[in-house]
């Protein structure tokens, strides 16, 4: 059982209250829900992905809770620029804005809306089920580089969230680093699909979706491991984290902090529950010492 010293965490230009961050797309559509997750123990929060135009998302079913995982095809619903006002109540808090676009120019435009309002940007170059966005451009290293460069013009720290649905995630970590990224986030959901045999049709309205939850945790560990070997910038681990031991394991693979999303389905108190197990004032290890320690 790994036990860490509690305290603020500085990672890639952001000061977090602890190592545990609310992942993008989960309870991040309103300022109030983000504030609630901070009050429930999240060390930082990432907003719903915000894009250049309002989107209503895919037709339902949008989410299927499976044994051991969550399948979703939300379709990037977001209110676009209208969202910015939601952050008024969160100025100075550890908030990271997730943004998306179809071109570097769109990333640049959306990024400017958040200057002075958030601690960092997280570029969604990894959503697996939105045509023209997310992984559709995030599986082209040149686009990853250019979108990162475009967002960096805001002066904000830029985190780049990568898709696992590529042959070599390390190549994309390197592309983000070349574009000036302050950190990479790994991973977004894994492209997946289920069919309702009773209905004889795909379980999701969109057909294809992305799998998250404990089922993908080993993929997240592998991706963080490969990125740690290939990149010099910090890595934020994400994908199926549900326990304090999962957090420690991803950190040992190379993550400086972790994002948590699907575990919210079990309980919105997951941050407090993990923190109670993970941190101890006396007797905890220096967290920095365990980041990447499994590589030694």
């Amino acid at each position: 059982m790994v036990v860490l010293c509690p305290g603020p965490v500085d990672v890639a230009g952001v000061r977090l209250n602890n190592h545990l961050i609310l992942a993008a797309g989960v309870l991040g559509t309103t300022g109030a829900s983000l504030a609630r997750m901070l009050s429930l123990g999240a060390g930082g929060v990432v907003t719903k992905s915000i894009g250049p135009e309002p989107k209503t998302g895919h037709a339902g079913p949008c989410v299927a809770v499976l044994d051991g995982g969550v399948l979703n095809a939300m379709g990037l619903p977001n209110p676009s620029k209208d969202f910015v006002g939601e952050l008024d109540q969160l100025i100075g808090k550890p908030v990271i804005a997730s943004i998306f676009g179809g071109t570097p120019e769109e990333f640049a435009e959306v990024a400017t809306w958040f200057a002075g309002r958030v601690q960092a940007l997280e570029l969604n170059l990894s959503c697996p089920h939105a045509e023209g966005y997310g992984a559709a451009i995030g599986s082209d290293p040149e686009m990853v580089r250019e979108c990162t460069r475009a967002a960096k013009r805001t002066g904000l720290p830029v985190w780049v969230k990568l898709t696992p649905n590529v042959c070599s995630i390390a190549d994309f970590g390197i592309a983000a680093e070349e574009g000036g990224a302050d950190a990479v986030v790994a991973i977004n959901t894994v492209k997946a699909m289920r069919i309702s045999t009773g209905m004889r049709r795909p379980l999701l309205g969109n057909g294809m979706g992305g799998l998250s939850g404990p089922a993908i945790f080993p993929i997240a560990v592998r991706c963080v491991w490969e990125l740690y070997e290939a990149c010099d910038i910090p890595i934020i681990g994400c994908g199926g984290v549900a326990t304090a031991d999962n957090v420690a394991e991803l950190m040992m693979a190379g993550a400086s902090a972790v994002e948590i999303g699907s575990a919210i389905v079990e309980s919105e108190n997951v941050f407090t529950a993990i923190a109670e197990e993970l941190y101890r004032v006396d007797g905890g290890e220096d967290p920095c010492a365990i980041v990447g320690c499994a590589h030694d």
Binding site: T56, G60, P61, V63, D67, V70, G198, R201, A242
Partner: protein, 256 residues
Amino acid sequence: MIEEIPSEPVVITHIIHETPSIRTFEFSRRFDAGAGQFCMVWIPGVDEVPMALSARNAITVQKVGEATEALFSRSEGDLIGIKGPLGNGFSPTGRVLAVAGGVGAAPLRPLVTDGLADTFILGARTAEELLYAGELDGEVDLRIATDDGTRGHHGFVTALLEEADPASYDTICVCGPEMMMKAVLGILDAHGIAGRGQFSLHRYMKCGVGICGSCCCDPSGLRVCRDGPVFTGDALLQSTEFGSYSRDASGRKVLF
């Protein structure tokens, strides 16, 4: 470990034309649901939308948009998917008053079928839009209001609520248009009994299981699908959103 929340394919066994705009769809499976709980209804090829369970094997639906219109085109023998029961539901204790407006009677109906309601105030725009009036009559102390005066009190349910001496009830369960519920809350608050009120809210939902965040309310950030849909009057008095706005599918605010 995440536990599966299955979507059960069910066969529509019976369609009841309740009013010109409202139908009840009974289906082939019963769900272990309490009054006020809801389900996500999957209309294949169209969408998945939240609906109150009006019985353990039924939903009662008003035609209001694309998904409900598609549901109205379904026939007995057709398949739909049901995910549920979801949400907290009502928790009635003691003497119970139900206050319903329009299709808002749907989640309140199980209070009567389970023998939990003492008095039922039922409102609609017009007599032909009164939901369940026939079946409720004789089962419960039923009091009716119509906006146009075609049956019962000519006016809103709030007038009947004032008459009913709300303070003599321990639980007041409410569902209907949000402005109606706001008016009901105002009356309960004036009597100093807002905390006895339990209000079933309607918000745009995508997931129904508390993860997507599309139904979160201001300023609490509580989720209507998971922390609700039933909230106490005390809680709603703290709400900056109740009776003012909701959010659409993109998350933009829409004023009432």
